[in-house]
Symmetry: C4
Subunit: 256 residues, 4 copies
């Protein structure tokens, strides 16, 4: 295995496509969004590239007994009445600091190969608490890009994301800008504690407006309901534990 191995699985003709990145990160928002996008547009998409790398975790995933080596996948998506897309999905980011740089450069190479000059990195921005309303926070590689984003409700905040954007999403902006891309990151607010399908939906709704495609959200909403049940149970359990820890009069009488 070289530092990088790129399998050309198939080819596709795309017209000025937009790269959309959906790798795991905060709240798994980017991954949920990218996976859902592909699911909904499966009829219009073709797997074109697989990236393998020494920089990925040294493992295989196993599904129904069949193994698959860690990789990232790029699908070419050609929607009617919408922008052509290159969708990047995967289960892992790189495992070292330099690895992130290596991987991001490879992704940009592939994007250039297909004629892309714009990209969206999708992710989450942690709020530290469970939330009801899901704003989408933005970051762009150049100031001139802000207006169309603000028009569809993306918020550019003074102090967020605190600490910047780490990993492939951040480097797609940083290295993308150096290589002539118009790069943006859309981050759905999320608690940061859980996988968050509602946050993924918020991000995809912005993307729909900007890239003119339409998605159905039924499966994401189903997942959101499952998550809410889980959250409910955790909160119940925590309350029970707290009640158990307060010493009652009976406990004290036993000691004294």
């Amino acid at each position: 295995m070289d530092e990088l191995e790129i399998d050309a699985v198939a080819e596709a003709e795309l017209d000025d496509p937009v790269l959309v990145e959906g790798l795991p990160g905060v709240g798994h928002v980017g991954k949920l969004a990218g996976d859902h996008l592909l699911e909904e547009l499966a009829g219009d998409s073709t797997l074109v590239r697989r990236l393998y790398s020494r920089e990925f975790p040294p493992k295989v995933s196993v599904e129904d007994g069949v193994s698959e080596l860690t990789c990232a996948e790029i699908h070419a998506v050609s929607v009617e009445d919408g922008r052509d897309l290159l969708v990047l999905t995967g289960d892992h980011q790189a495992q070292s600091n330099t690895g992130h740089y290596v991987l991001t450069d490879a992704i940009l190479d592939i994007a250039e190969e297909f004629g892309a000059s714009e990209l969206f990195a999708l992710g989450g921005v942690p709020t530290g608490e469970l939330i009801e309303e899901y704003a989408v926070v933005g970051a762009v590689s150049d100031e001139s890009m802000c207006e169309p984003f603000e028009e569809v409700g993306v918020e550019f905040r003074e102090d967020e994301p605190a600490g910047g954007i780490v990993g492939v999403s951040g480097l797609l902006l940083g290295l993308g800008e150096r290589r002539g891309f118009e790069a943006a990151c859309l981050m759905g607010e999320t608690s940061g504690y859980l996988v968050d399908p509602k946050s993924a939906r918020a991000v995809l709704e912005v993307l729909e407006e900007l890239l003119e495609f339409e998605l159905d959200y039924e499966s994401l909403d189903d997942r959101a309901e499952e998550m809410e049940e889980v959250v409910g149970k955790i909160q119940e359990m925590e309350q029970q534990q707290q009640q158990q820890q307060v010493p009652t009069d009976d406990d004290l009488r036993y000691i004294g």
Copy 2:
């Protein structure tokens, strides 16, 4: 020391051999199995290769005062009325993520050199608790391989192993598949807390059926008995500790 150094210790003519990997992992199952296999078939085996690498821990092991640099060994085994084998054993896996890729590629190079196109990685799948019955869970590089395995009792489970297979065992499947091998991983159930000779035996019994050789298990069973004594003592000690922690009436009287 280069990234890899392979010593050709001896040569051997093998007919369509199967690579069998027994490096340490969960419950040391793979290592116990690999070492036992070599012990039992010692009369039919020749040490052919030693692998040294910067990716191994920087240490020597010491036995009776004599040092030995960390390495992995490959033995050629030619059993009558059974498949020829290349058995990989060692005390350590690689020490870094990229190191696992480097090491696994080297192992596959050697396997190809001897004409192998099939491989078995041996390991354990942790159950999190002590068990009585030892199932063997399987993972294969291609779906078409499942049937003969199921026929000898290997179980292909929907959600196991959770988290996939990490390290050389996993990469033997992942990189092996890319290089044209038929690759399988046999994992004996094990608690994950202890070295588990019974799990190793379960795995070897499956291998016996698939590769048509016969093993004696006396020394493995002896080790299993030793382990059971150790487990028994640990359980006794834990019970005593628990009894000591419950405050008795006497303790309470002292405070009050």
Copy 3:
């Protein structure tokens, strides 16, 4: 992204300049000092180089929604009646041991390119407690350099800094000396717990004397006042917590 990428943003003619390094470290003293120096001498300075590297954290910082890839910057500063300067600033050190060596060599390359043969690394030396007086401790690459420093109040102490000087500051002395530079490190005493603008001021006052430029300190003093308010509040909170933990007669009566 190569191991290093150096953008030549602009050129400048400097006469025997001195390299001044202000990267983050203990108490952020070096960074505060470097940033303040640039702020005050902005009228006389030009950004000449940006360093990007795989050895920097794989992230972008985001300010008002606009992203910027991690980098270090070098400004050429030409002050009237003072030594010409090359000022190195940035938000991060390298992320690995070998990375520090790589980065420091690159910085020295640029310094040589502009004709520098002297350098100052700025930092802090931790005292472990809040202090009132701010001494500046020194380290030099050659004994002959001590006198002029002592004359302006720099202290060379027998056992400080204990553990030496780690990171780019230390390597600027170590590698700088091997490459023919006269290298010195000025370290302001600081508690080590907080960002310390007073310590940065102490260091800059020494630099002013040695390099014959003049700085205004109003903005640094403002930051120092803010820090003192923060410290005051932390001390108040700690006192309150301590008072709460002492069991009162009332608490004891409740148990007994």
Copy 4:
């Protein structure tokens, strides 16, 4: 800084010298021994090589205000009526797994350059408790080497050192053996908690017998006395703390 930089500080003619390694490790035994050896034979020794490397910690040590880049030193020692020596000393081991391999190969290159074919790595073997008698445990690269060592009191134990020998000391045996050296490691028993001059003395006394030189031990004995005072004080403090933690009748009366 390349991966390695070796400064040829001076040359020396040695006759079949023995490489003696004294880098820091368990109980700092090897370092104390190596430093003491050089101190005592200073009149007969010349600094011949300095090794710098990206694999060393990225720092300078500072003594009386003067900086020194992390390095290892090799002195050539020509004693009358004793074996010629190449003594390796330093303050640090390599900082990564692969770094140990790189560093050890460089040391062996220099040893070969000076015509050495035998080596001694000096270190400590931890007992886990303070001891009175200091045995010296041995490990050799080949079984045939044991006898002369046993004759001077070196012990070859069945299960020690458990876990083998890690770092440059271990690799000097492992890589040394592959490069045709007769390699041995002498390890003084030590608690593992403290710097141990008595253990260093025990190791040097064995070396004296094997290599036919004579050392004075006054300064090492002084250090041993200092250590014993420190140990005494720590033991006193621990006893006081224990006495304070036992609740007295008075304490209990207060609660009840």
